[in-house]
């Protein structure tokens, strides 16, 4: 079974084509990297998969189930995926640990369990000394790691990464990439990322999919 | 939720008898009187007080707007012209109070839609630092001798508007218009209200001005360098305009019986005495009220004879002319 399948996806904004007849399959536990210049539709494609945009035509299937197109629509939160946004989308008024606690809340866990899990995930990205900090009190790299930790905390089966290593130095990038690869191996996490840097794909062992401005 | 709670708290009180009064006379004077009525009769008084005329659209507008479902029982106005406008708009109910028997006929409506009591009078207030020989008459306001030294309130609002309308109704339109134009030509300052006339004469910005007894006495009690006297008191002069408080029963009053009791009480000598003793030195109209030192007796004043209905009828005309003359 494929973790993700896109069938002839098209999307226009105000008549301008952003994605045209795009198809792709991604096996469970594998990674692909949408690679191309700005405006080639990488981010739009991630948003279509996440359910933040609706495709004009075509179909999105996750784990074999149709989530968009063909008269079906599954809300983003019910697709079993999570995403790291290009601007990180951190919540400026929440402390680091609260970011994770907030997304875990409502998942049938006690407060202690949530706290334990949030702390563990933050430790895995070397943020154990930043639990009580607000985003603005953290460096760019720390913020990026917080965004990744938040995305992984909900145990997604599919992780969408939009320029995930943009703010990280080489050592940190490798470290985080290793962490994600471990999750891919252990939990069968599948990854689709957008990047304009080939090295990002190498780090995750992702198949490069070149994208061109339509 | 808050709305519902408040509605319950204020809307549905206990079933004690009550009376609703809208009063334009300041709370400072009217509240003790209403409290005394409540203590005496056990009828709970719910009052609404007005803000000073000309600053906002107040209780008269509200009474007009509420005609389809009146909420007030009694309207206690601190003057008369607007009361007559309400009568003409069918907002009032006739009631001949036994307490009003001694009040002179000229201060009562012939159909008993309103009754006057506790009056103010038009006076000249002057600054004692600036003049020992103040103007004595209305005519002085057109006298070149006083050019630029006198002040009146805008004759569009309040008792000054009533005064102008009284001139229109007693002198005839032509003479009244000529007079107002002469006032304007004599550089008389046109100020925001009677209280402003008082304040600026007291401050020494003007030698003298036209105001009401209550305003004038306020300045004296505050220790300002002013004195006042009634207008046009010589034997051959017309006398000053005396403007009573008026009380009326509201047409369709929800508690009409309690309203009549309140009317009877307000028109009693006890209330007139109390108002005469206050800072606003309201002049009792009932001859039975005992003399208060600081407050003049009606008998001692030469009063201008007016037909109040004619005054009310002239009011829009006078005001329109005043607007064109003074507000440009």
């Amino acid at each position: 079974m494929h973790a993700l399948e896109l069938r002839n996806i098209s999307k226009k904004f105000d008549g301008i084509i952003a994605v045209e007849s795009f198809s792709l399959t991604l096996s469970t536990g594998a990674a692909v990297c949408l690679f191309g210049p700005s405006g080639s539709g990488k981010t739009t494609l991630l948003r279509l998969i996440a359910g933040l945009e609706r495709p004009d035509t075509g179909e999105v299937l996750i784990a074999g189930h149709s989530v968009a197109g063909n008269n079906t629509w599954i809300e983003p939160g019910d697709r079993g995926l999570n995403m790291v946004f290009q601007d990180l989308a951190l919540w400026p008024h929440m402390r680091a640990i609260k970011h994770l606690d907030f997304v875990l809340c409502g998942r049938d866990m006690s407060k202690a369990e949530r706290n334990e899990k949030a702390t563990r995930h933050l430790k895995q990205v070397d943020l154990e000394s930043n639990l009580q900090k607000y985003p603005h009190e953290m460096s760019g790299g720390e913020q990026q790691r917080l965004a990744i930790a938040r995305a992984l905390a909900t145990d997604p089966k599919l992780l969408l990464l939009d320029e995930p290593f943009a703010h990280l130095d080489r050592r940190r990038s490798d470290h985080i990439a290793n962490h994600i690869r471990a999750r891919m191996k252990q939990d069968g996490l599948s990854v689709i990322m957008a990047s304009h840097d080939e090295r990002d794909a190498e780090r995750l062992g992702a198949t490069l999919i070149p994208m061109f401005a339509p | 939720m808050a709305l519902i709670t408040l509605a319950l708290v204020v809307g549905c009180g206990p079933e004690t008898p009550e009376v609703v009064v809208y009063t334009a006379l300041d709370e400072m004077y009217s509240k003790p009187i209403l409290d005394a009525f409540e203590a005496k009769t056990g009828i709970h008084v719910r009052a609404l007080y007005d803000t000073e005329a000309s600053k906002t659209t107040g209780l008269v507008a509200r009474l007009m707007a509420e005609r389809s479902r009146p909420r007030a029982d009694v309207f206690w106005n601190n003057e008369i012209a607007q009361t007559i406008l309400l009568k003409n708009a069918d907002a009032l109910e006739s009631y001949q109070s036994p307490s009003a028997a001694s009040i002179p006929e000229s201060y009562k409506d012939r159909d008993h839609f309103w009754t006057g009591f506790a009056a103010r009078a038009r006076v000249i207030i002057y600054n004692t630092d600036l003049t020992d020989h103040p103007p004595l008459t209305l005519a002085a306001f057109t006298d070149p001798k006083w050019k630029g030294k006198l002040a009146i309130a805008k004759p569009l609002f309040g008792t000054t508007a009533t005064h102008a309308a009284a001139l229109f109704s007693t002198w005839g339109d032509e003479r009244a218009r000529a007079f107002l134009e002469a006032v304007r030509a004599n550089d008389v300052a046109i100020l925001a209200g009677n209280a402003t006339v008082r304040d600026r004469v007291a401050a020494g910005e003007f030698a003298a001005g036209l105001t009401d007894t209550d305003d004038a006495n306020g300045a004296i009690e505050d220790g300002k360098p002013v004195l006042w006297h009634f207008l046009d008191q010589a034997a051959d002069e017309a006398g000053t305009l005396v403007i009573p408080n008026t009380v009326s029963l509201v047409r369709g009053a929800p508690n009409a019986d309690a309203g009549r009791l309140l009317l009877d009480y307000l028109l009693s000598p006890e209330v007139e005495l109390r108002l005469a003793q206050g800072r606003s030195i309201q002049i009792p109209l009932n001859p039975d009220v005992a003399k208060v030192d600081k407050t003049p007796k009606l008998d001692d004043i030469r009063t201008m004879r007016v037909d109040w209905d004619a005054v009310a009828e002239a009011l829009p005309r006078a005001s329109a002319f005043a607007k064109e003359t003074f507000v440009r």
């Binding site: 939160g77 989308a89 | 204020v10 609703v20 005329a53 507008a61």
Partner: protein, 527 residues
């Protein structure tokens, strides 16, 4: 989940539409009656162009002059405050705030006491200079007095705007050798919009301040409306108000486009490279402006309120009114802020939000007295409406109608300024719609919610025009009491009451400002 999200949204929109209808109905009632009862002949009698055009021009001149002067003074003081020591900052804020919150009519009385022909300030001056005092009673004089009353609004806007400018922007520009284009392209646009919004607010306040125009002997267009109301020609009053409604509507919409949550709030010192002497001169001159325009008038008010025993007497005799006003303003501010918050969540698309913004301002634009008459026409009838009319709930409704737009616009601006990705991140993570709204959207809009609450508290606490028409019998508000006292009450008592009310308002205003600043520092901070 999909359904529940839409259901909650639709429910919110439905509820708000019902509330909106309830608040807009009085406006419809007023205009419907005015137009139905007017005939062609009335229009000629009502609109006398020859008379009214100069009056209207004078209204605009007074308001425009006041706004321009307030702009100069306000920006000056705003800049000075950013450089002042903390203690000086607080002192200036307190003095300017007190004078802003004093009823403009009382402020104007104090102003005349100071600068009028027999003003305090001429006691020590040569006699000829006192002649200048006459100028207080003139169009420029009125504009100056109104500017002195309202400049703190622009000072606050300028202060907040200046703190938005990030030191790093400037550094980046300076390194690139582009200082001038930095000022032109970055700093000025970030600063200008809130200041321009403040300018418009001052213009509108000055335009409608009839008691002050009247006191300072400037005949303005408002007298036409007041005279018509005085003789109960309400249809004329409504029709005459249309030109002012149009003017203020245009200005308000202009202000709306300027109120944007742009730029960021920062503690970084602004241009901290200037010489000390320049800094001292700036702060000193700012203090001088505040002293002349705010502190002196407040000293006059305070001295007229003396001796202190006046305050004791005030609390004995007007304590109940102050209490009622406090409680009602508290409930009203909470209600209005709550409605504004729900609305900001319900109407998320730009077009519907703009429409709601415009509609919400209409009850304010038609002016307080006319809104009051409309409320009577709609609510004073048998049945549930009458029960509302007979209770204090009518005041809350009237205030919600009159000031609802403050919440609608203010909180809307706070929500609009948030990055949409914050909400999307919560959606993708499977956070429920309602939780996301509370924990992400509302929580980030907190500074604006606090500011709006404070502003609506102050506005309702001092509201008088509508209150006098709809307050239930037996309930007297402090604001109404203050104005009834002005006619008969002893001067000291009036001044003490005005000061006490200002003190209440500045306490609430300063507290909400502190919350605003503290929260904004977190929500707007960047690493």
């Amino acid at each position: 989940m999909n359904e529940s999200r839409h259901l909650s949204r639709y429910l919110a929109i439905l509820t708000l539409s019902a509330v909106g209808l309830v608040l807009i109905l009085p406006v419809v009632a007023v205009y419907q009656r005015a137009i139905l009862t007017s005939t062609g002949a009335d229009f000629d009698a009502i609109f006398q162009f020859g008379r009214q055009a100069p009056l209207l021009a004078r209204s605009i001149a007074v308001a425009g002059g006041a706004a321009v002067l307030a702009l100069i003074l306000g920006v000056w003081v705003g800049i000075a405050v950013t450089r002042a020591h903390r203690i000086v900052k607080i002192a200036i804020g307190f003095a300017a705030g007190m004078s802003l919150l004093t009823p403009p009519y009382v402020f104007a009385i104090a102003w005349i006491d100071l600068w009028g022909p027999v003003g305090w300030l001429y006691h020590w001056a040569p006699e000829e200079t006192a002649l200048l005092g006459v100028a207080v009673y003139s169009l420029p004089g009125a504009a100056i007095a109104l500017a002195a009353a309202y400049y703190p609004i622009i000072a606050i806007a300028a202060y907040i705007a200046l703190r938005r400018v990030d030191q790093r922007w400037k550094e980046a520009a300076s390194i690139a050798g582009q200082y001038h284009s930095y000022v032109r392209e970055i700093a000025l646009p970030a600063i200008i919009s809130p200041i321009a919004a403040g300018f418009i607010v001052v213009f509108l306040l000055a335009l409608y301040d009839f008691p002050v125009h009247s006191l300072l002997q400037v005949n303005t267009y408002l007298i036409e409306i007041h005279a018509a109301s005085e003789y109960h020609n309400y249809s004329a009053a409504v029709l005459l108000s249309i030109p002012l409604v149009i003017i203020s509507g245009v200005f308000l919409i202009a202000a709306r486009t300027l109120i944007r949550n742009r730029g960021i709030y920062t503690d970084a010192g602004i241009m901290n490279d200037e010489p000390n002497s320049f800094r001292l001169g700036l702060v000193g001159s700012g203090c001088l402006v505040v002293t002349l325009a705010s502190i002196f008038p407040m000293v006059v008010v305070a001295s007229r309120a003396m001796p202190p025993a006046t305050f004791l007497r005030l609390f004995e005799t007007a304590g109940q009114e102050l209490g009622s006003s406090l409680i009602l303003a508290f409930i009203a501010a909470t209600l209005i802020t709550g409605l504004g918050t729900i609305s900001s969540l319900a109407f998320t698309n730009a077009r519907s939000r703009a429409a709601v913004d415009v509609v919400s301002a209409i009850p304010f634009l038609i002016s307080g007295p006319l809104l009051g008459l409309g409320m009577i026409a709609v609510y004073n009838r048998p049945g549930p409406a009458g029960m509302v009319y007979d209770s204090a709930a009518i005041l809350l409704l009237a205030w919600a109608a009159r000031f609802g737009f403050v919440a609608q616009w203010g909180i809307g601006a706070g929500v609009r300024g948030q990055a949409p990705s914050g909400r999307e991140a919560a959606r993708v993570a499977g956070v429920s719609w309602l939780r996301m709204q509370f924990a992400v959207v509302i929580a980030q809009a907190r500074p604006y919610i606090a500011m709006v609450w404070g502003a609506t508290f102050v506005l309702t606490f001092r509201e008088i025009d509508t209150a006098v028409l709809v307050a239930p019998p037996g309930l007297t508000l402090a604001s109404v009491r203050l104005f009834t006292l002005m006619h008969y009450g002893p001067d000291g008592y009036v001044m003490a009451m005005a000061l006490t009310m200002s003190a209440v308002m500045i306490t609430v205003g300063a507290s909400t400002y502190c919350l605003f600043a503290q929260w904004k520092r977190i929500t707007d901070a960047r690493p």
